[in-house]
């Protein structure tokens, strides 16, 4: 017994020592260290532009500590958002600068993954513990507006006597901010679907990496993917000796957020999520079934993608086993971090007669309960961030203000510019409905069933459409 006790105590002490050692050696993040500096200097991810990276890209987190309690002002603002990953880091940096410029305000930032964020916002509204401001998707505006918890932000726009120029915002973006004729949100960015390609794999397969040469038909894309899908013996998918059971490198991955892929594909085939008047679900139209069937075929007929389940696209891309990943503007900084993987952005692939892609808008919203001093402080934060949207571009997303988009340099922000153009030209957003999240859940299930060979495209979409229609009617 004694031996065991001694062992346990020693173990405990050693472990505690290690843990404490790490904590104190590295140093706790100081609560009020504002981050000074202009974006161009501090963000190493510019390396992404040059395909052959000379310097090793340092991870931003080593350069400066990321702060969640920003500033020391008496006027305190609580802010929630879902920007996990490198874009949230960028926003925190911006807010730190704001706090330096506005020493009377302090901000506590809480970053919570989107799904959880929406749930927490709801429970917080119920509890009366909602934050002073939050950043969510414009697609959430109908839901929050219906609950009656949002403040009318019409007075922030120049049309209502405010500072934000209405004509500096594209029509498609503005559409997302309004529900029932009221403007409820202030846009930060557009973010959306695009492809990231592994340039080395493209060159090895003899395919040009210039996005202008991208195929414009489904068949063209299939061939491209086939050239990029290689089995362990070096045969690509076009060769008769191709062994689909032993693939070493995949051309594409259908399982990466299938919902938005589908929405884009649906639009490409001329379909739409909801009918014009928003009362009928139309995902199971001819266009929808065709769109989904094409993706199913990529997996089971052409063998250029693994089935959706049990596959981690990001990990594979980073591990060098995936040539093309359908992802988005948010991928920029992470892509740059992958040592040994040279990549660049391409527009979304075209599988239908017309090109299309999905995009969304991150927007600031203010709870109706935020008033007085808090409201003033919150407005100042939002205004400052809006004026500095160019900084936000370093996160990979596309600034919402059109004037800012024009100022972006092509060397630094190729992916933002490239994809941003596609959003303006032919982008589609989430359907406008208070129950959009519930509907997207049903869609997600349908896509999962179809892509994992559990149901045919038609069955899956029909079943989902029924459920979505029920939910819609229940409104």
């Amino acid at each position: 017994m004694k031996n065991n006790v001694v062992k346990a105590i020693v173990g405990l002490v050693v472990v505690l020592a290690i843990v404490l050692g790490i904590w104190y050696a590295v140093g706790r993040p100081p609560a009020e260290e504002p981050v000074a500096g202009v974006p161009e200097e501090e963000v190493p991810v510019d390396e992404e532009v040059v395909p052959v990276g000379e310097e090793v890209v340092e991870e931003p987190v080593e350069e400066e500590p990321i702060i969640t309690e920003i500033g020391t002002g008496d006027l305190h603002v609580s802010f929630w958002n879902g920007l996990t990953g490198s874009d949230g880091v960028t926003l925190n940096e911006m807010l730190a600068q704001f706090a330096q410029d506005n020493p009377d305000i302090s901000i506590t930032v809480e970053i919570i993954a989107w799904d959880t964020l929406y749930m927490k916002l709801q429970t917080a509204f119920v509890a009366g513990t909602q934050p002073d401001m939050f950043l969510a998707h414009a697609s959430g505006v109908p839901m929050f507006a219906e609950f009656g918890v949002l403040r009318d932000l019409g007075d922030q726009f120049t049309s209502g006597g405010g500072w934000l120029a209405d004509d500096d915002i594209s029509e498609t973006t503005m559409y997302g901010l309004i529900w029932d004729g009221v403007k409820y949100a202030i846009p930060l960015d557009n973010h959306g679907r695009g492809l990231w390609i592994n340039t080395d794999m493209f060159e090895a397969a003899g395919i040009s990496t210039d996005p202008a040469t991208a195929p414009t038909t489904f068949e063209g894309w299939v061939e491209l993917f086939q050239k990029l899908t290689i089995d362990v013996n070096g045969n690509n998918a076009l060769s008769p000796d191709f062994d689909p059971a032993n693939v070493a490198q995949w051309g594409f991955a259908v399982g990466e957020w299938p919902n938005v892929n589908f929405m884009a594909a649906l639009a490409q085939h001329g379909g739409s999520f909801l009918s014009e008047d928003g009362t009928t679900v139309t995902i199971n139209s001819e266009a929808g079934i065709k769109a989904l069937q094409q993706v199913i075929d990529l997996v089971y007929e052409y063998n250029v993608s693994p089935p959706a389940a049990g596959f981690d696209s990001w990990a594979s891309f980073g591990g060098g086993t995936l040539a093309v990943i359908p992802t988005g503007t948010w991928f920029r900084n992470w892509a740059a971090l992958q040592e040994g993987i040279n990549s660049m952005a391409w527009p979304n692939w075209q599988q239908g007669p017309a090109p299309s892609t999905w995009f969304g808008t991150h927007a600031f919203m203010i709870p109706a309960a935020t008033e007085g001093e808090d409201l003033e402080a919150v407005t100042r934060v939002i205004q400052w961030v809006t004026e500095n949207q160019a900084w936000w571009a370093t996160s990979g997303q596309v600034p919402a203000l059109m004037s800012v988009q024009e100022t972006l340099s092509a060397e630094e922000f190729p992916s933002n510019i490239l994809l941003g153009q596609t959003f303006t030209e032919y982008g589609v957003q989430d359907p406008r409905s208070p129950i959009v999240r519930e509907m997207l859940t049903h869609l997600g299930v349908a896509l999962s069933e179809a892509l994992n060979d559990m149901k045919t495209a038609e069955q899956a979409l029909n079943d989902a459409a029924v459920l979505m229609q029920q939910a819609l009617d229940r409104q």
Partner: protein, 315 residues
Amino acid sequence: MAGIETYQNKKVILSKERTVPFYLKLKTREAVAAYIFLAPFLIFFSVFFIRATITSIRLSFFDWRLLRPDITFIGFGNYIELLNDSIWWSAVQNTLFFAIMTVIGATIFGLAAALAVTRPIRGGEFFRVLFYVPQLMSVGAIGLIWNWLLNTQFGTINYFLSFFGIASVNWLGNPDIVMQSLSMVTIWWTFGFPMLIYIAGLQNIPEQLYEAARIDGANAWQTLVYITLPLLRPAILFVMVTGFIGHFQVFGQPQIITAGGGPGRASWTVIIYLFQNAWVAFRMGFGTAIAMAIAMIMAVVTLIQFKLINRNVEY
């Protein structure tokens, strides 16, 4: 009234029982003391359990979305919708299958481990601790670990299997085996607890019984079946009952490992169904009806278990 009899037609008072006032009677004092001891527990119980359950039952007859002000009475509407929902029934099926398989698996492994660890061998204590370690981890950690290991394309398990010439198993992507995979993970995670219970139970079996068996010439198998197992029956009952109740309410594993019950709805459990309806669609009334239904199912199965396993077990 006590102590008055008739003797030769005359009332004779034999003895007068001192009537003790109610509040001094031993029985009363004991009852009062008992309730004082019970009070803290009962207070918490009534506030956070009884009241909550009654509210839930009431709520299940209404239609209520969390943030909407209107609450409408719809009688049995929620229950009818539930009974007619094929997704609900498939979730029940999945969950029953999962719970039964996991309970049986954890019991068998737990028992085997307990038996092995209590032999007179060296390092029994080390193994005992080791086998319980997974149980100390949170479901989030478990999800992280096993999601990776069971990855179909590039996961470690499939990689190892390839050395034996076994083709990649689609652990989490094949709707026919996904519940089995989740059950496997759960058994790995939780068999330590049954093991502990059985160890305790084994330690309670008197030496003499084994001696007697040996003298009578019983071999290991016979000893196991005729002596050990019957005496472990209370432990087995306990493990299976609590195990079933716990595993029937599984949520974390499918939610995290198969990203919400995939593929499709192949690993939707009843709690995922509840979560989707109550916390994603925010239909609180419907959600409480689902919770009630889950309670009823568990009650039925538990009763069945008691009938089957519980013979002459003191509780």
